[in-house]
């Protein structure tokens, strides 16, 4: 666990044993090649060392078959390893079943996480065992990278679109959370802890008062980083309420009126549906589309409307955007 000397990192996710297996296979293949080549070099260098009677090399015939043969071996082995790696990779990029969705924002130099019920924490991430956790990640400034070695997952966190990854913790414990992409002065301080507990303990933690689970310093930063009044009004129980509050605070409702689509299209219920755009293309409404519609509102114009919506880039916080998305999702009633 945390802080022990070891040669291999602990395996704490459902994925870790698979990755390690592949890793050991790679080690084995490499060892074979390294040993064979080094032994051959040593043997040849000794056996055919220059000495009286061996001043001149012996004649050797080249066989093309030999060349083909030793090209095919690495090709063949390589293809196996490639396929193995690609299969696991697709698994990493697949959508997990019924995950807990946690939202994370990376900024110089901290991690902020928000649990589905609105519970937030900084640099600590509580997750339960036995259930997939889907991380939706965004950066507020430069590129960061969400990295938990014990889970063998890493995902870059970029500023212009959501990226996501998932894991299913298997072992309770406390693990390192690193920022793996260089992001400036305190890059190596952009670290945290992943605290894996039993599902019951996780529920208990969710229900506990805010300060607990993080240091007082964290709590202060949390308040500082909070997205204005709108956010603080959010009730923990209703996932859409905070988003609705944001929309009122930001004045979105002036145009996006419930039940009135003359000024602007309805937002309620659109998640997961297909929207036709002014330029004839059809897009599916997902997290990235909604985020882009808010921040770069003119990138994609809905058919039948004018591009009058202001771009909110720099005006709303990532947490608030996420809240609006949650609101739209909640009103769409789908479990996406």
């Amino acid at each position: 666990m945390y802080g022990k000397f070891s040669l291999f990192p602990e395996q704490a996710s459902s994925l870790a044993p698979h990755i390690d297996m592949l890793y050991f296979a790679l080690v084995a293949v490499s060892l074979v090649f390294v040993v064979v080549i080094c032994v051959l070099i040593a043997v040849f260098a000794f056996k055919y060392r220059r000495r009286p009677g061996n001043e001149i090399a012996q004649e050797v015939h080249e066989h093309h078959l030999m060349e083909v043969g030793w090209s095919l071996i690495p090709l063949f082995l390589g293809l196996i390893l490639f396929a193995w790696g690609a299969k696991l990779f697709l698994q990493i990029y697949s959508q997990p079943e019924n995950p807990i969705e946690i939202f994370g924002v990376g900024k110089q130099w901290m991690w902020k996480f928000q649990h589905p019920d609105g519970r937030r924490e900084i640099n600590d991430l509580h997750v339960p065992t036995g259930r997939p956790v889907k991380m939706t990640l965004i950066s507020q400034d430069v590129i960061h990278s969400f990295y938990v070695p014990a889970f063998r997952v890493k995902q870059d966190v970029v500023p212009m679109r959501y990226s996501s990854t998932w894991f299913e913790a298997t072992e309770e414990g406390i693990y390192h959370l690193f920022c793996a992409e260089f992001c400036g002065t305190e890059h190596s301080r952009m670290v945290g802890r992943v605290i894996v507990t039993s599902p019951e303990a996780y529920q208990a933690w969710l229900a506990s008062p805010l300060i607990e689970g993080g240091s007082p310093r964290d709590a202060k930063m949390m308040n500082a980083g909070r997205g204005g009044e709108a956010a603080s009004m959010a009730a923990a129980s209703d996932p859409g309420a905070k988003g609705r509050a944001v929309m009122e605070a930001q004045g979105c409702v002036a145009c996006h009126q419930v039940g009135n689509t003359t000024l602007a299209p309805a937002l309620e219920g659109i998640y997961g549906t297909k929207v036709e755009l002014e330029n004839g293309k059809v897009v599916t409404v997902d997290d990235n589309y909604i985020r882009e519609s808010i921040l770069q509102s003119t990138a994609k114009i809905v058919k039948g409307y004018q591009p009058v919506m202001p771009a909110y880039q720099g005006l709303v916080k990532e947490e608030e955007v996420k809240a609006v998305i949650d609101y739209i999702k909640a009103t769409s009633g789908s479990k996406k």
Partner: protein, 215 residues
């Protein structure tokens, strides 16, 4: 090595054919690097146009088609005169060489002057990306992407024109002073290749920036 006597033969070549072929292959490889150089910008262009087609169409309207068209005509004409200059050099026709080089150089200057007015207009209305940006469109900051690419592409191209103008200017003077005899025709030919390449880039820049979404 009968050609040792050739005054234009550099010391390390065996004969003039070898020298000629080396120089022209060298020039082409240089142009190859230029292709990749401009390629980088066109890569970025493709991606952003794919991502933001509407914005590209709308922003293209703010470029001046008249000036762009005139400039294209100017460059195409200069390409012709350059080709004629190369021909004149190869045939040792001094007067014609000087005229053609002079016209080419002048065309380059005209191109730059027109470009200057286009740029000046952009500065005036504030459609220069970055700190000077004050351009109000419904696309907000996103429009800066288009102009960044526009200034990146036309700026680099303009720089190439400028370099070309200087080189051709020098050639004109050399030719005028009888320093470009037939035996040195390859110099003109190589500069010609460069100039045609600059023209080629513009042939693509023009429709891709000025002429999209005009309907």
């Amino acid at each position: 090595m009968s050609s040792d006597a050739n005054p234009y033969l550099a010391h390390h070549f065996d004969d003039i054919v070898q020298q000629h072929e080396s120089v022209s292959l060298g020039m082409w490889i240089f142009l190859l690097t230029e292709i990749m150089f401009f390629g980088g910008i066109f890569f970025a262009y493709t991606i952003y146009r794919f991502l933001y087609p509407d914005m590209f169409h709308a922003m293209s309207h703010h470029l001046d088609v008249t000036m762009g068209t005139i400039n294209t005509g100017v460059l195409l004409t200069s390409s012709l005169t350059m080709a004629l200059a190369v021909n004149a050099a190869q045939r040792g026709m001094k007067k014609r060489l000087v005229t053609m080089l002079g016209v080419t150089c002048a065309a380059g200057v005209i191109f730059l002057v027109i470009k200057y007015f286009e740029y000046a207009h952009k500065f005036h209305v504030g459609s220069v990306p970055g700190r000077l940006w004050t351009f109000e469109t419904e696309f907000g900051n996103q429009a800066q992407l288009f102009y960044s690419l526009y200034f990146g592409a036309t700026g680099l191209h303009g720089l190439h024109v400028l370099i070309g103008v200087v080189i051709i200017g020098v050639l004109t003077i050399l030719a005028w002073k009888d320093k470009l005899p037939q035996g040195r025709a390859q110099r003109v030919e190589m500069v010609g290749l460069y100039w045609h390449f600059v023209d080629l880039v513009w042939i693509f820049v023009f429709p891709l920036f000025y002429l999209i979404g005009r309907t």
